[in-house]
Amino acid sequence: VPNSSSAALPDADSSSKERILSVAIEEFSRKGYAATRVDLIAERAGVNKQLMYYYFGPKARLYDAVVERMVQFFRPRVEAGGSDKGFAEYFDATAPDAYGLQLSVWRRLLAWEGIEHGASADAEIRHEAERVESYRAPLSVVERAIANGELPDGVDARGMTLLMIFTAVLPDALPQITRLITGLESDDPEMRRRLQETMRRLMVPTEPKEISS
């Protein structure tokens, strides 16, 4: 959660604003947009509703602020220090377990955004241009690895990028399916480790794979 230190927030105003935002992040990530009640956010943040409206406006604007934080959070992690990395290096730098389980709050926000808003071709995506720009990093890393012959023929840079994101985010979005298939909870580090190792084994070329036909 972003506001780790209250010392960095000198005045009471910005500290209650941050508190509202951090409660809102948690509530929206648990319940999504539609089912979240702003009264409850104000109550949990220990402020009155008027103050919350004063800072953020109506629910939709509060949600905007939450999504903005989400985009800010994911951006450096998706870009992982630039697109000049080799594929193996990029893969390891973005490994989901590299940031620990508090990441699941943001992954669930991302899943809620997808589930609730859908994405018909004309549906608006918040901060779309900025986010498309971020995804250029994995896309160009994979494209370069394909061009260098590091990845097997037939790998599609977009397909590969989507697979990396899906396997990182979906345990948090579909924890029941995770348990039905693996018997483990999505927040079990053992599950994360095994999934990540399997994806690494499949995606990162280390030794030639021997497959009989």
């Binding site: 319940k31 997808g114 994405a119 995804y135 023929d153 790998v155 989507l162 985010v169 039905l180």
Partner: protein, 207 residues
């Protein structure tokens, strides 16, 4: 005769309520649904819903049971499948988008539920288990490396199929505005095939 007629009428009312409930639950999630809204959509009174389904929980279970039943033909196809078909040849894994939405709702709500109960857990884990079994069979046949964790690969394959529906916004930002769902499936399927080795020569079409 009149008993039969009454029973038929009751059946069709029950079906109408369930149908309305599936729609409502797919739209608004399993927790946020209001029984009033289901009653209104089905054109019945609320008491009748409680009479048939006991409670909102009962209604939710009936909806998930229906989902499991409708997925059954899909799992039958999986059971008779092989690796190449699992990677890119499977039929669309859901007869209807609303089931994917239901799964998504169930997932996000499960994570927020301290009891962490899964409706029809055993039946459903057996269904997913058929896919894992196919992978293990391929490992025994030597067409899939034996050091790959079959359970985790099975999970990744489900995520590969569900991903475009759970994260349509991310899919669009990566695939581009004009990409269709078929384009996305092709990009992911081709990548999986390449990563897991070319499909075997004898991979004959299923249908």
């Amino acid at each position: 005769l009149s008993d039969d007629v009454t029973a038929d009428a009751a059946d069709s009312t029950w079906e109408r309520i369930l149908e309305a409930a599936v729609e409502e639950f797919a739209q608004n999630g399993l927790a946020a649904v209001r029984v009033d809204a289901v009653a209104r959509a089905a054109g019945v009174n609320k008491q009748l819903i409680y009479y048939y389904f006991k409670s909102k929980i009962g209604l939710r279970e009936a909806v998930l049971e229906r989902m499991v039943r409708e997925y059954r033909p899909f799992w039958d196809v999986v059971a008779n499948s092989n690796l190449p078909h699992l990677l890119s040849g499977l039929p669309d894994n859901s007869p209807n988008d609303r089931w994917r939405r239901l799964l998504a709702w169930e997932g996000v709500e499960y994570a927020d539920d301290s009891i962490r109960e899964i409706v029809l857990e055993q039946t459903r884990s057996q269904a997913y288990g058929t896919q894992t079994e196919v992978l293990r069979r391929e490992q025994e046949a030597g067409s899939l490396p034996s050091d790959i964790d079959a359970q985790m690969l099975s999970l990744a394959l489900v995520f590969a199929r569900m991903g475009p529906f759970i994260l349509p916004q991310v899919t669009r930002m990566i695939m581009g505005q004009d990409a269709t769902i078929a384009d996305t499936r092709t990009a992911i399927g081709a990548t999986l095939e390449a990563l897991l080795g070319s499909p075997r020569e004898d991979g004959s079409p299923l249908e």
